[in-house]
Symmetry: D2
Subunit: 337 residues, 4 copies
């Protein structure tokens, strides 16, 4: 860690901090400059956290040398991690498609949609029972009943089910009904929830928060993995920027960045990442091209009547064309659909 | 509500949608243009939510006429709301100071800090027992023990206590120990938590999320109020932008906007809003000047040894000068400190 | 155009505005609601600009129905436009590669780089003679001498040259030496420059500004086209967001958006869009996959000694692999490299 | 400067870079760590720019220790700079009001507005002759005729005139007619223009770009000052963020930051910073409170008929109340209006 002192810091201030660095077992370095003094700490700098040097009145800035996450970093674990969602593998040579409606609305809607996505080649079924919505007057999901419908349909069509969990107290319930948890963008930093999921044995699809940096996302994953659950799948779903032409700005730069810095698989959500039905297929192709391990995509048997996100959902015919159109890009990326 | 159809929409498409508008009891309007057809719906447009017109394949865009929130809007309730935090009033002519450390660390630290802020004129005591932190390796708060310390110190010094609640299951526990709940930026859209707080009788300080628009903030408040708890205090604490010179970008434009659109009181957090100790006082003055109803500010008896946020905390002497310096601006704004 | 009045607006206010709408030849519409009155104007709403209705004290908001740009819109010109850069076509079935160094540094550097990119299959040569740099202490380009070197090398290797113009007074000089102009992100709204380029007969590559919406970009293109030069190529090169892991956030959503709303060709700059050499190839693949018409990419014969942007430049060997790696994605997109 | 090497860098790579550091006269430092090697360079690190170390394939990141700007920094020049605009001082104890219409529209409009703002106590008159507008179909300003009107009215009412210059070739013309130049947000990084203004003897009001960090703004000022013109006034006018409730997000954090890092005076534009007439006065108060040296504010004799920005302009009566309302805040800040 590099510690840049304020111009007014004295030699005595520097010595005090150097002694603190030594006290936690790191090697201190003193670098007096012409205008500023710089200090260094060599060794596992995560130990320095306990010193709270950033609060020291003589410290101007601190530059870490190592990444703040460890278990999810590629440096600590060079080989790609593969995650098994009820038999569907994510990572490595696979390109995994998780498809289904935004929300579970009824047994009929789920069954029709699930049959359609299975017949077209999806590997997992998605569907939300708990829906976080900006307005209290919007449809909030069917709750436990939704989980039951999802589970029944999942069994019937033979696709593992993925569904969102929004609260710690729901973890054990959701775990019973689904093959994998999904953590939504609004809960990416719900750390209590992340810790609870870290104690589960089922995989977690962790969506990037709307204002989260990729480093924040990796730190959120570190919460889950450090509690004992290594089965984390990251998901890029767009960030909030000044651009209003699309619902979010899909940050595909995050894919090669994550591949370089982490061993975890990463998928893309082109439905939320664009918010526009017509852009879902082109952005799905782009995701495959830049190295994503799969997609989570909204499909509804009748988008016009969908209770949420219908404007960004594909209907079964569109999903069939979607699969046909992305296939050559998946193959060009050296993966199997 | 104004519904702009896609260029390819036919008269039949328009008629279908007009019939739907009529079916929920609104007055439909048909406005054929030279290039596009526009439809209108007159009446309480919140009823249109159930139609999910945004999902209709012929609909290009929808422009609401009314605000999506209702109970928190000034149109529905023109007079300013005052909220009572254990005897300290927020709103109206008052300018309320909530001061204390980022986190409860020990009985000594809390007592020393609490005595200092009380003696200098603060109205409420803050201190976090549950700390949401980006990294799992950072200090996470003392939990229940922290609540007990906070409560004891609060009684001793005679200041009502404000503390963060991060999960629904903690609501009843926190309610026992604190005079008011604080909802942090990361939980502003934890809707389950908001609903639970809506069933409490204690006030809620609702902090704006890092990527939340002011409208999102007002909708989050609507969640609480619509469950029956009208005691909501909004809090501007900075948003995430490209600017890295400060920890967040304090969006003071939000203050006059909220005052115009809502009857709820609004306070400002200049500590998180800047992340830099030296900028806390100038931005507190600015907050008073543009119409805020108070401040929530981090004070620590020894910032250098603080377990979190020490770099943005004032020490007791700095807090004394802070109070002296903001007073003339509070008075110029026609309020009482 | 839809005009939403403030709650306090009277019938008389509405009548006054309706009369103004009629006075410019549009059909006025009066839609009194229960809480708000809404007015409409049917016809070519661009005529309403002269009324400045947004300044009217009774007007709350205005929602346009049509796009503010016209000549560059796909509605006005459904077929794709192809642009010829000195023999290299951009648009349609072509996938055009413009490669070369950030800046012209010397005849040797340009020649070595130009030969390498030509031999590997690039269609145009890039190289900046005028470099806008954040700091006055950074290398600012060779100016006229740089143009001469670029021109000589371009002739020698037989690739048309593309170079940035940063000021109106340079337009005629740059026009003599280059086959196409490039307008940098910082000049996207230098409207005097855009108008001057609108009077040229040579093509213009217009880069999106760091804080420009796609609509702003299309309006900037409208400046050039409305002055008489239809040869505009749009370029997505990343926007500025809170994410600092990459130099910019490459907004590939813009590609399908532009393809839907405009007939102009659009290329992508993965070098500036990422700022990281290792991410250039994956993002180039993604650009090809989502429908871009080509790429502008930084290549330098010796990136380590480059006077600017060396960290994001490919060397000749890397560029060779780059071309090999993107080819299958270009073909999957139905285009020819 | 601190240079963090990539994990794969060898001792030989480090030695090569250390030799380069020494070759430009700086003291090199070698800090081998357990996971990464870190290098340092002690002395005036601006000399390192010529080495382009950021392009070196073994370099991961570079952390500067000093600010990249020098002449405008408070470290180089601790005392506040005062700038004289035709007799009106900006900086120090003064709080300077620059008021007038967005655009010069006619002699009558300018005269009526100028008399009103002078009678109410403004110190300078603003008015644009060249208007950069997003759309080519919007009013673009009266050009030279506008400058003549502005100059005549300025003489008549006895207020120094401030006007925008948008192009290098206009500098000498604008200099003849105005007491100070204004550089708009879109031109903040038009470096040719900045250099030309650096050769003028007249003051320059430099507005922050919509996506410019404060450091970018200070570097832009460095361009002007390093050419020989020290009379630069910085202007915060809002940045572009995801928030759409206001036209821009006024970043008042920038004021204490600039005061800490630079000796130049800084003013605030609450008209563009909010885009809403009703928020201009509260945000002007906030600007005074946090330490700004003045305001530039849009006033129009008849905002309803303004050719641009009428929705954010004050009329003469509103401006009178504005001056009355901000006065106590200016006084509380220890300044004179």
């Amino acid at each position: 860690m590099i510690i840049i002192l304020k111009p007014e810091a004295t030699k005595q201030d520097a010595d005090e901090i150097l002694a603190q660095i030594e006290s936690v077992g790191l090697k201190p370095l003193y670098m007096p400059g012409t205008e500023r003094t710089v200090l260094g700490a060599i060794g596992d700098e995560r130990k320095l956290g306990s010193l709270h040097l950033e609060s020291h009145p003589c410290v101007d800035r601190i530059t870490p040398i190592l990444t703040p996450y460890k278990l999810v970093s590629r440096e600590s674990h060079p080989a790609d991690t593969l995650v098994d969602i009820g038999g569907a593998m994510v990572g490595g040579k696979r390109f995994t498609i998780i498809a289904g409606p935004c929300a579970v609305e009824s047994p009929e809607q789920m069954l029709l949609t699930a049959q359609a996505v299975r017949d077209t080649g999806a590997h997992c079924l998605r569907g939300g029972a708990y829906k976080p919505r900006s307005s209290p007057y919007s449809f909030q999901g069917l709750g436990k009943q939704g989980l039951e419908i999802l589970h029944d349909v999942s069994e019937k069509v033979g696709l593992p089910a993925v569904t969102e969990v929004i609260e710690t107290e729901d973890v054990s319930l959701v775990e019973k009904y689904a093959a994998a948890f999904q953590v939504g963008a609004r809960n990416m930093q719900n750390f209590r929830l992340l810790k609870a999921l870290g104690k589960s044995r089922k995989p977690v699809i962790l969506k990037r928060g709307m204002s989260a940096t990729v480093e924040d996302l990796l730190l959120a994953a570190e919460y889950i993995v450090s509690e004992g659950n290594p089965k984390v799948i990251l998901c890029e779903r767009g960030i909030r920027t000044f651009e209003t032409a699309t619902r979010n700005t899909l940050d595909l730069n995050a894919i090669p960045y994550i591949k370089q810095h982490s061993h975890l698989p990463v998928i893309v959500d082109p439905s939320h990442g664009t918010g526009v039905r017509e852009y879902v297929t082109p952005m799905a192709k782009a995701a495959a091209a830049c190295g994503a391990d799969g997609l989570i995509v909204e499909v509804h048997n009748d988008p016009k009547s969908a209770l949420s996100d219908g404007h960004q959902s594909l209907d079964p015919d569109q999903f069939m064309r979607f699969m046909d159109e992305i296939r050559p890009f998946v193959q060009a990326a050296g993966k199997e659909l």
